[in-house]
């Protein structure tokens, strides 16, 4: 394999995992933007999505398309339910309490999954059965192609939703100034619910795409994936949607190249080192807005 081919393949790998990170990062970023919560349970929603896909295909023998629907819908409902049950009662409480609650939800999901499905991994049947296509002499695996297209389409839909709909405008208003938005007649609860639904739906899509790349479900799979996606969101500038996308792809590509040069043991370290360097140079991330405290 020529050097050029290797580079191309690594870019493709990076884009594939990057687009999954980006989808998950968007959920972190939206939720942070709207209630300034680092939603640690977000990664575990992906885990639940993967189990739902496994359940639908391996147990209920459903068509992959239905399996995808089950996973995405399940994640959406779960996300909204978590917000209603665990986060809503804490509106107005110190933010640290909200954070600890999110950690509690994360523990709960992981351990519930472990009780129900056991600690060992379940393998998920192939969801996408698409042959690789050859482009200019380079093979592009079917899953990579589908992942990139799906992620791209999801992000495009999200961007339109946020920038050009009533609900999107409400979301932006609430994240800018909750009190003022409320005075202008925006229904805060609905908006927050919608944000969680949207973020969790993206996580659901992410979980299906992740299951295509790594067809296994286990109770703790969401932790590291969630953490990386979270890093991506912060890297891009938390609260900024384009930032989350940029951050996701940056992390994906960085990981692919670190692995390609034979340092995959250092992969996680490099991801966090990039984060630290970026934060020290630009304290609010690549595309984040600078903060000022009024004296």
């Amino acid at each position: 394999m020529s050097l050029l081919e290797t580079i191309f393949r690594q870019i493709l790998n990076g884009l594939q995992s990057g687009s999954i990170y980006a989808l998950v990062a968007l959920g972190y970023s939206m939720v942070y933007g709207i209630i300034t919560l680092l939603n640690f349970a977000h990664g575990d929603i992906i885990m639940v999505g993967a189990y739902l896909a496994w359940l639908a295909m391996a147990r209920l023998a459903l068509n992959p398309i239905f399996a995808v629907l089950v996973a995405v819908l399940g994640c959406t409902i779960l996300g909204m339910a978590i917000e209603k049950v665990a986060y809503k009662p804490l509106r107005g409480s110190p933010r640290i309490s909200l954070l600890i609650t999110a950690i509690g939800v994360s523990y709960f999901l992981e351990n519930a999954a472990q009780m129900i499905f056991g600690a060992s991994s379940q393998s998920i049947p192939a969801i996408i059965k698409l042959r690789a296509i050859t482009l200019g002499g380079v093979q592009i695996p079917g899953t990579a192609l589908v992942t990139l297209l799906t992620a791209g389409a999801s992000m495009a839909v999200l961007t339109i939703l946020v920038n050009h709909t009533r609900m999107g405008r409400a979301m932006r208003a609430v994240s800018e100034d909750t009190g003022a938005a409320q005075l202008m007649g925006v229904n805060i609860s609905t908006t927050i619910s919608f944000t969680f639904a949207l973020g969790s739906a993206l996580a659901g899509i992410g979980s299906v795409l992740y299951s295509c790349a790594y067809p296994q479900a286990n109770p703790t799979m969401g932790a590291m994936l969630g953490l990386k996606a979270f890093v991506a969101a912060v890297l891009g500038g938390i609260g900024s949607l384009p930032g989350a996308m940029v951050g996701g792809f940056a992390i994906g590509l960085a990981e692919a190249f670190v692995s390609a040069v034979g340092l995959s043991a250092w992969k996680d370290g490099v991801v966090f080192a990039i984060l630290i360097v970026v934060l020290l140079v630009r304290p609010t991330g690549l595309l984040g807005k600078p903060m000022h405290e009024k004296v």
Binding site: Y32, T36, L38, A86, P89, L90, S93, P94, I96, S97, L98, L99, I100, T101, I103, G104, V105, S106, Y107, F108, E110, N111, A112, Q114, M115, A223, L227, F230, V231, V234, I238, A265, W266, D268, G269, F272, A273, L275, I276, L279, L280, P283, T284, M291, E293, V295
Partner: protein, 341 residues
């Protein structure tokens, strides 16, 4: 004029606290030596002591300094490895070497606290949380892979650092617990501690009162790291084998949960919740599958119904209690601020 306080003299208070603590040490040690407390329970008690140090030390950064570090396990790891490497290589017998090992653990962790604190403390709020998370994870990755770079065995990577002398006992653990609580108490009840609290309450106002924010933030952060290193050293001598996997993000979260559940800024809250959160899961081992679910639900429920933690910012003071007994509780209620803060 109400300037006379209804409290017993400070030095007498210290003496009473010291006497009670010594009695606790002698009693506990006696019970363990005589076998009245089984080996298993004495292990649990030691683990409680280690977790108390971790929680109390994190409380310095979280409760007093008002920051949210998510990499506390990293400092614990550094202290544990530093001490363990010393203990496995020293020619001294284990019991005289261990105090040195503990100090080395604390000192190396404190050094990391300074190195990490100076850049991290430039950031605020959530960004500080995230950057410390990043440093914590990097420490873990480095401990895992450093041998490949060095070309000789230092941490022994994923296989783990083994054959660490098991020098941790009930007595040395709880002497460390006592010293940690005492030193943090004396630091906080001084001009330095007040500077740290002032920075938490209002950084701009503290600056304008002539308080060097960078210095005091770093001091608080470093003190926090030092005692985490001490706890790490005790843990190394307790468990006998170290593996970087045990010091990940989840461990940091576990310590944070103890602090928040106890009430941030309350040392006695940290002590109590570290005790309960260590003891209960150990005692519930029989219900292995359910206990973590119960733990998770407990966290959520406590946060929903008591968001400021179980003890709020209240700090218990034996001197104050005795003062009340001797002089009657004539002091008017004054909100939550007592002399303890």
């Amino acid at each position: 004029m109400k300037t006379k306080r209804n409290r017993i003299p400070t030095l007498l208070g210290y003496a009473i606290n010291l006497a009670l603590f010594a009695a606790f040490l002698i009693l506990g040690d006696g019970l363990i030596q005589s076998g009245a407390i089984s080996k298993y329970y004495s292990k649990v008690v030691m683990l409680i002591g280690i977790n108390v140090i971790l929680a109390v030390s994190l409380n310095v950064a979280t409760g007093y300094l008002g920051q949210l570090p998510l990499g506390h396990a990293g400092f614990m790891a550094v202290g544990a490895y530093a001490s363990a490497i010393f203990m496995t290589r020293t020619a001294l017998p284990a019991s005289p070497a261990f105090p040195i090992g503990i100090l080395i653990g604390g000192a190396v962790a404190a050094a990391f606290g300074i190195i990490i604190g100076i850049p991290a403390l430039r950031l605020r709020g959530d960004y500080l949380a995230i950057i410390t998370l990043g440093f914590g994870e990097i420490i873990r990755v480095v401990l895992l892979n450093i041998d490949d770079v060095l070309g000789f065995t230092l941490t022994n990577g994923a296989a783990g650092l083994q054959n660490i002398p098991k020098a941790t006992t009930f007595l040395n653990t709880f002497v460390c617990v006592g010293l940690t609580c005492f030193l943090i108490h004396t630091m906080m009840k001084s001009r330095h501690g007040r500077a740290i609290l002032a920075l938490r309450d209002n950084e701009i106002a503290a600056d304008s009162c002539g308080i060097n924010a960078t210095y005091y933030k770093t001091l608080g952060f470093t003190a926090s790291a030092f005692f985490a290193g001490v706890a790490g050293a005790l843990y190394a001598g307790y468990i006998g084998i170290l593996n970087p996997g045990g010091f990940g993000f989840m461990k940091s979260i576990e310590i944070l949960v103890m602090v928040v559940l106890g009430g941030m800024g309350s040392m006695v809250g940290s002590v109590l919740s570290a005790t309960v959160l260590t003891a209960v899961p150990e005692l519930l081992r029989a219900f292995a599958g359910y206990r973590m679910i119960v733990y998770a639900l407990l966290l959520i429920v406590v946060m929903i119904f008591k968001p400021s933690g179980l003890m709020g910012t209240y700090d218990f003071s034996l001197s104050r209690l005795l003062g009340k007994l001797f002089y009657g509780s004539s002091r008017k209620k004054q909100g939550k601020a007592g002399d303890a803060r």
